[in-house]
């Protein structure tokens, strides 16, 4: 576990995983997604006991609609920033599009899925992951596609007169069904079935993974969690690009506390939202 920490004596080293841009984008997604779910779910489950009560708290249907549309604008901002970043990444040849470090799914992901199930059942070693695991790739692309679909249909319903000036009215029927179901799917994926567990709940990260907020994680954690990327970088001599001394100074402590508080609040909010989602399914 301690391999690598002795590279520079006396200095705690970290692996820098996310740039300021990506962390900023994650904040945008996170805040807007929470806002959208909290103001949209009561509409979907209008007959639930909590729906009307909750709508009252956030200013009725009109207040909720205002928050929902404002948050949608933030959500669009993330989407266009990310698309712009990807376009720039490809155009400026900032790095390979395919390959071990890429977010693009490849053959190894399929092998990793099978490998993980073997590991779950005690029939093999845990797969050695690259920079992004298959569930992280799923999270990323599902979110991007979901944002496009929910955002697009949301805009259609935001401006129904404009939409039907060039599309038949049934397009709004499709938009409603798609928006509502894709949103429900996304809420389930983020809060219950994929994202929250794979980011914070899985044994390697439990109880919280700060990396998306701080940008870096302890080197030993990195090596254990992404051994394939570590080996590739060791072999290619590119470890220096991502390993650096842990940030020090009074602000890091404040930041760390803020991140812990933020994570706990987020977890509570997510749990609450999860209850809102599950409640009507049970009763």
């Amino acid at each position: 576990m301690a391999a690598g920490t002795d590279a520079r004596e006396g200095v705690r080293l970290v692996y820098r995983r996310f740039s300021a841009f990506h962390r900023f984008n994650h904040y945008l997604v996170m805040i807007s997604f929470f806002g959208l779910v909290l103001t949209g779910i009561p509409l979907k489950f209008k007959d639930s006991l909590w729906a009307e009560f909750f709508m009252g708290l956030i200013g009725g249907v009109e207040g909720a609609g205002f928050i929902h549309r404002t948050m949608a604008v933030f959500n669009f901002a993330y989407f266009f920033l990310e698309m712009g970043y990807m376009a720039w990444y490809v155009a400026a040849r900032k790095g390979p599009i395919f390959g071990p470090d890429s977010i693009v799914p490849g053959k190894k992901d399929w092998q990793d899925i099978k490998g993980m199930f073997r590991w779950f059942l005690g029939r093999g070693p845990k797969p050695r992951f690259n920079r992004f695991t298959y569930w992280e790739k799923f999270d990323f692309w599902a979110l991007l596609a979901g944002t496009f679909l929910i955002g697009g249909t949301g805009l259609m319903m935001w401006f129904p007169e404009f939409t039907t000036s060039f599309l038949p009215g049934v397009s709004l029927n499709v938009a409603l069904v798609l928006h509502s179901n894709e949103a429900f799917l996304a809420t389930g994926v983020i809060f219950i079935f994929v994202h929250f567990f794979s980011a914070h709940g899985r044994p390697e990260s439990f109880p919280a993974d700060e990396v998306i907020f701080s940008g870096s994680l302890p080197l030993d954690h990195y090596i254990a969690d992404r051994p394939a990327e570590y080996e590739n970088r060791l072999r290619a001599g590119t470890l220096d690009q991502v390993v650096r001394p842990a940030p020090t100074g009074p602000m890091t402590r404040v930041n760390s506390w803020l991140m812990v508080i933020f994570s706990v609040v987020a977890l509570f909010a997510a749990t609450y939202t999860m209850l809102l989602v599950v409640w009507p399914l049970l009763f």
Binding site: P160, L185, V189, V194, P203, P218
Partner: protein
């Protein structure tokens, strides 16, 4: 429906009157006799009700009819509730009107011997609303519901009259949020299914959750002068549909009117594209949640088994 109700009531009332005029029949018709149940409410309740007589109750109707247990057994043996909650009536849109502004010709003679025949009662009830709401009554007469009520439409379908949509003693202003929320259920009593599909649209969700400005059944279909959409004069006829939408959506174009309010996306009656999207998503949700759920549970199982959560393998 209205006709029948009126007939029943009038028949009963006429019957009641007869009971009183032909005292000889009392014994033979004992089981069908009127039973006045001014009962048991006790000194306290009596005092409370009496202390706050409804302002409009100039004739003292509520002295008896404000008693919760007042009822009668009609000639056909049916129990009839004759109780009018004074507070509810006072809070209604008609709360300041004397009872006999609708119950025309009723006096405090016990038991209201003015009502001697069915015709009189039916006519009175019909006229009661018309006396003040002549315009609405006239529109109703010309509407599909009005046609039905006169038996002008074949098929013997029961038609709603004024009170079926507006209620009686608790009649509300139609522009209150409560009434606008209730109207869906009121229409749904006869137009079942249509109510549910409407409630699943944004209009339906918004009105359910208290957005008063959201459209309800009557905002599109009309109210007193309601007609089938096939009738050119209907608010939703081909000629009028866009104008109706533009009441709230002034920028709407022709395409706007082809939005389908009354469809159930998971029904095969829905347009294919809507049905396909709905079925696709239901399948997606099931598959993704099932795979994600199984993956998560197995991950937790392996984590616990290998001591990764609370053992040496943990990193935090």
């Amino acid at each position: 429906m209205k006709e029948e109700i009126l007939k029943t009531v009038a028949g009963a009332a006429g019957g009641l009157a007869k009971e009183f005029t032909c005292l000889r029949r009392w014994a033979g018709l004992g089981s069908l006799a009127i039973v006045l149940l001014v009962l048991l409410s006790g000194e306290v309740a009596w005092a409370q009700e009496s202390a706050q007589p409804a302002e409009a109750d100039q004739n003292g109707c509520l002295v008896c009819h404000g008693q919760e247990y007042l009822g009668a057994v009609e000639v056909d043996g049916a129990a009839r509730d004759l109780f009018v909650r004074p507070q509810a009536y006072e809070d209604s849109a008609h709360g300041l009107l004397p009872c006999n502004s609708c119950h025309i010709g009723f006096t405090h003679d016990n038991p209201h011997q003015m009502v001697t025949n069915a015709e009189f009662f039916a006519e009175t009830a019909r006229e009661a609303c018309r006396n003040c709401h002549a315009d609405q009554f006239e529109m109703y007469q010309q509407s599909y519901h009005g046609e039905l009520s006169r038996g002008a439409v074949a098929g013997g379908i029961q038609a709603p009259g004024c009170i079926d949509c507006h209620g009686m003693h608790q009649v509300q202003r139609v522009d209150t949020l409560e009434y606008r929320q209730d109207i869906q259920e009121i229409c749904g009593q006869c137009h079942g299914g249509r109510e549910q599909t409407f409630l699943d649209t944004y209009h339906g969700k918004a009105i359910t959750l208290g957005r008063e400005a959201s459209a309800t059944c009557v905002d599109c279909h009309g109210s007193h002068f309601i007609l089938p959409t096939s009738n050119p004069m209907s608010t939703l006829s081909e000629a009028n549909h866009l104008e109706t939408c533009r009441n709230c959506h002034p920028d709407a174009e022709e395409g706007f009117t082809t939005f389908l309010v009354h469809i159930q996306p998971t029904s095969t009656d829905a347009p294919l594209v809507v049905f396909a999207v709905a079925v696709f998503y239901i399948s997606m949700i099931v598959v993704v949640f099932a795979f994600g759920g199984i993956h998560t549970l197995l991950y937790i199982y392996r984590g616990l088994k290998n001591g990764l959560y609370f053992g040496k393998g943990g990193h935090h």
